[in-house]
Each structure stands twice: as C-alpha cells, then as structure tokens.
Symmetry: C2
Subunit: 376 residues, 2 copies
C-alpha cells in the first residue's frame, strides 16, 4: 500500500491524496459504501462500478459467521467471491462483537461471544481477527479494538483504550507474520470523548507505525460537537504521510468537518439505510419519498443530479414503488443516495485541489440546509 498526499488546502488541514492498493488506486477523501456481508445492500457490483465506487467495506464478524472463512478461502478471497475487482477494506469485527453478538467475556486475550445468528460460541482474539481478515483477503484490514458504548465513565474508557493498544500490538505482530505486502493494516484510535485519552492513544499508535490509522468509537451517540472535538484532538497526532479514516461517519455536514481537520476516508450505512426507508439526499437537503406531496411529482429526485435514477425515473414513480412495497424501490433509492455521496466527495476533492475547500463547504451547506422535508 502506498499513500501520497497530493494537495493541501491553504486554509485548513483538508487534503487530497492517492491510496494505491493491490486492487486499484483510491482518490481521497473517499466515501466507502458499506457491504457488510459481501454485498452493498440492494446493489450489484455492476451498479457500484457504474456510480464510481472506488472501495467498499466488508465486515470480518459477519463474514466469519457467514459464509465463513473456509468458503472465502475456497473462493480465492472476497474479491473473487463477490466479483468486485476494486479495493475492499474489512472492519475487524470489534465493533460488531460488542454491538451485535451476545457478549460473554472480555479478557486481555480477547472476546468470547455468541453468534447473533445461531447462538454458537466463538473467541475472537487480536490474532484471530487478523487470521480471519487474512482469509477474507481485503486490501486493508483493521486492528481488533474494544469499542466502548456512549456515554462511558473515564476510567472504563481509559482501561478500554489501553486494551485496544495492547491488542493493536498483537494485531501488528500477527499481521507481520502473514502477508503484509498483500494486505495493509490500520490501527484504531479509541478513548471515547476524553480528548487526552484520544491524544495518548493516537500518539502510541503512531509510534507503532501502521500503514494507516482510523478514529473509531465515534457515531455511537455522542453529539456532533463531541465528534468534531475528537477528530480535532486526534487527527493532528496521526502521521501526516498516512491515511486517516473516520469510522462510521456520516452525514455530509459531518464529513466536511472531518475533511477540514485532515481526515481522508469515511464509511457510513446512512446513505444505504436511509434509502431503504425512503430518505433521499438532494443538493437542497433531504426528502422522504413517502411524503404525500411526491405522489404526483413527476420531477426527478434532484433536478441537479445526473445519476441513473434521476436521469430516468420520477419522484411519483419512486413514491409508488415504495408504497407498493416493490423491491426496485430499495435499489433505485440506494443507487441515488450512494451516487450523491460519491459525487459529493468528488466535488470536495476538486475543491481541495483548487484550494477553495472552505468556500465549497459554505456553498454546499447553504444549499443543503435550505430544505429538510420530513426525514424518517
């Protein structure tokens, strides 16, 4: 993996870069659609290519449970299994072990948990998380981290952060024993909303020298202000020459705040999940296709959008599909929302390259906040 910072905005920490991975080059800042179970919900791989997705996410917890590492190995890895030939990043499953599974016990060794699918018992250690991600074979894998809930007392956050550092060392050791040329490994900063813990964790991880770094444990219920403070306390302590990934973020306005503070990579289920609930992004803000006003509105979702959905279908048709429970509604809404996010990031990159990020941010937010119509 190689990362080159290409341009820096003169007024803030925003930057563009090129992340070269075994399956292709990713231009940053980048939004990564979430394909937890080796599928970005409701889309095909052809759809994702058509809208310009550069890299997608998979999840080690889900893929370990189903289809399982033996099947993924037999397929020759996740790229061949799902026929997606561009880069993939897998989350280690740390977050899911804590949020989805019935958790049994956390020790220094790892986490014993019960599958949310069938109640079967499993142990994820840092080493196991790396082994699973090696079987999956994504371009980037993530350290196994302990993700605290929000709010959490300071002593628990500190203990958890130290566990994450211990596990990060174990992950790195295991990764170096495997095939570090084929798959990069990112460290994950924890520490909840305690900025000194975040700073300490970032500094310690930076000393371990990972190919890239993530800010985890956000988007768990904290305020936007707290999230921005965490980024502000963390990003500057991560090596300038390495990519920075803010996990699980987020709405366009949050992404802009993070880019302004030097973040390069984002993922979030919101565009895909909202789409399945009828919530659609437009340059003028969000709308909900379930609202009665769209039933005979024959305009596209967003007259300024050039996506395959807006070029063809009307709000009235999409409203009908949604109400009628047609599966096509899920796909078209998802296609539009992801196109919106990918285009939004592409325009942000252009703005940074042109040295006018803050002007772009102002203009975007002005239009984007001009309307907010009954989002679910």
């Amino acid at each position: 993996m190689q990362f080159e910072v290409e341009t820096r905005d003169p007024e803030c920490a925003a930057r563009t870069g090129r992340l070269t991975l075994p399956h292709g080059v990713v231009e940053t800042p980048v939004f990564m659609p979430v394909g937890t179970q080796a599928s970005v919900k409701a889309l095909s791989q052809e759809d994702l290519e058509a809208i310009g997705a550069q890299i997608i996410l998979g999840n080690a917890y889900h893929l370990y449970l189903r289809p399982g590492t033996e099947t993924l190995e037999a397929a020759g890895g996740i790229h061949r299994f799902m026929q997606w030939n561009r880069p993939i990043l897998t989350d280690s499953g740390g977050f899911q072990v804590f949020s989805l599974a019935e958790m049994n016990k956390v020790t220094r060794e790892g986490v014993t948990f019960q599958s949310h699918l069938d109640g079967s018992r499993h142990l994820f250690t840092p080493e196991k998380a790396i082994d699973v991600q090696t079987s999956i074979g994504a371009d980037i894998m993530m350290c196994f981290d302990e993700c605290t809930s929000y709010p959490v007392p300071r002593d628990k956050a500190e203990e958890s952060m130290r566990m994450t550092l211990t596990w990060a060392e174990a992950c790195k050791r295991r990764w170096l024993e495997r095939d570090p040329e084929r798959q990069a490994l990112f460290g994950i900063v924890q520490g909840s909303v305690y900025l000194d813990l975040r700073a300490e964790c970032a500094t310690a991880l930076a000393e371990m020298d990972f190919p890239g770094y993530a800010i985890g444990g956000v988007s768990v219920g904290e305020s936007k202000e707290e999230m921005v403070s965490v980024v502000e306390a963390t990003a500057p302590r991560l090596p300038e020459a390495k990519p920075r990934y803010l996990m699980g973020v987020g709405p366009p306005e949050d992404i802009l705040e993070a880019i302004e503070r030097g973040v390069d990579m984002f993922d979030c289920v919101m565009p895909t999940r909202n789409a399945r609930n009828g919530g659609l992004f437009t340059s003028q803000g969000r709308l909900n296709i379930k609202n009665a006003q769209y039933a005979r509105d024959f305009r596209p979702i967003d007259p300024d959008c050039d996506c395959p959905v807006c070029r063809t279908y009307s709000r009235a048709y999409l409203a009908h599909l949604y109400r009628a429970g047609e599966i096509l509604a899920l796909r078209l809404n998802t296609l539009h929302n992801l196109f919106f996010m990918l285009q939004f990031l592409a325009r942000t990159r252009d703005a940074v390259r042109a040295g006018r990020f803050r002007a772009f941010k102002r203009t975007f937010l002005q239009a984007y906040s001009s309307r907010e119509c009954g989002i679910a």
Copy 2:
C-alpha cells in the same frame, strides 16, 4: 395492432409471428414478464431491456387501486410513468377481483368488491375495466371476465362463461368508443375444464371479432392434462390470423405443449416468484440455491447460460446472498430466471422457423428433465 403469422411448423400448429404494437414489434411465441404494479419484481426497466424482454404485463386491478388512474393519466400513461418504452399488456383485473379482493357481489352489471389494501368499496363493470385500462394506456388491454375457481360444477361454469360473453360485448362497445387505434382489446375464453363450453365460448368470441384472443381460467389448480385439453379444444376455434394468449402459463414444459397447439403468447409469475424463493431454472432442470450442496459450488447457475448473472457470479455467492437475506439475491435470481425464459422462447422461435419444433421440444425436455433438485 397488426399480427402476421410468419412461419408454420409442418408437423403441428406451432407458428411464429410478428405482433406490431404502438410501442414496438413483438416476435411470437413470446413470454411476457409480469409487472403487476408497474414493476417486474426486483428488476429495473434497464435490466428488462438488457435481457431482451419484448413486452411486459401490468394489472388493471392493482394499478387502479395504486397509484390510481389519476396519477397514471397525469404521468401520461404507464409507459411514461414507469419509463418502459416497449409494449405493455394489461390484464383487466377480472382474475384479481375474484382472487384478491373481498368480493361482495357479482351481477350482470359487474362486480362490487373491497380493496385488499384498505377495504374500500369499488364497482368494476366491463365499461369501467375498459376505462381504467384506457387511463393506464397499455398497447393491449383485456376484456373483463368472470374467472371461476377450480373445480367448479358445470352449471356454474356455464353461467360464468355466458356472463363473460355478455361482458365481452360490453367491453368491445366501450373500447370502440375510446381509442381502438391506440390500444388493442383481446377477448378471453372461459368455460373451466368443460371442453364444449370452451368451444362454444371460443366460437362466440371469434364472431365478435377481437384483435386477439386469450384462453383464461387455466393455471387455477387443474391438472396439466386438463390444461392441455382446454388448449386443444380452444385454440383451433380461434381465428388463425389473430394472436392467441394462454394466460398465467407457465413452466417451460407447459409452454411447449401450448405452442405445439398454436398458442403465441404467455405470461407467468413463476420465473420471478420462484427466483425470490431460491428456485432457479437451468438447461438441466431446476435447482434450489438454498440447498447445502451449493454453498461452495463456484460454478455459475447454468454453465450453458450466457445471462449477466451466470457470466459473473457463482452459485456459492448466490447461495450466500440468499442465506444472508441480501436484497441482491432477489434481483440476480430473477434476472437469471427471466433470461432463461426469454432465451427458451427465442430458441423455440428459431426451431419453429427452421421447421424442427418437435425435435427441439424433445431435446429440450430430455435435458430439462434430467435433474430436479429440491425445488421449493
């Protein structure tokens, strides 16, 4: 509407033809994918074009209830509403009024029923069914018929068949008052499995001179042999120069029997519905992707198939998507099954043109019945 019979098989009543409609030419025999609510379930209109669908179905009962004729008229008709620019046929809703709605009363005038969506009360008369279908604006509309269940006593079947004939006259009168150049109207033969009733109904409808004729009231629980007998008693009594449509049929083997007896058009939810339950067609017979044996089977669904799914994805991936409840499973399975049906009809047309329909039928059925693996 124009229909020309192009070739006739020397050994049987199989034939090929060209049906010229306002939105394009349809080569017959043809399979028409079912898009009840202005959407072929799980597919986009681009998908349908890509796999070569020539004409699709809509349903007057469903579309009348949702989105309603006012919306369809405001959109400029169903083609513009759903952005499908090839031919469409709408069923009159006769079958649905009897099978889906809570029925209140059938009189000579028509049927009073309660919507299956919200319990609201509606009256469908033959005239109303034509008016609704005129608002929808499909290339072909169907007469409003009384569809009996199976089995049904002879006297009830006869009474119902006579009602259908009365309604057919009323439909024709109303159709001629509207725009008969823009939309063709097909008569529907009823009479359950009573072959003399079928013959009488066919003869009476033929005298009314419709642009085309359908055989209705099949695929309602009767045996394959009974269905074939009905076709055999009916098709020869329908005008040779007009298209013949067997409603709601069916599996490939039934379609071959009907083509052999002179039928030109088919529709069935089976390929799309089976797909959503994991049942997939192959040249060697059907398979169910849920079966454990496919979990690590990295071959395509059908090695002989050239569809977008078989060209890209493995059985193992499709099995995973299905088990994981991924929406993409529904789309890929549907795309494959419809491609299979459309290709099967294309190959049948080629065989008829080459004067070797019966040899084709034999070869196809031999391969197709060679395996049957746990279909749901």
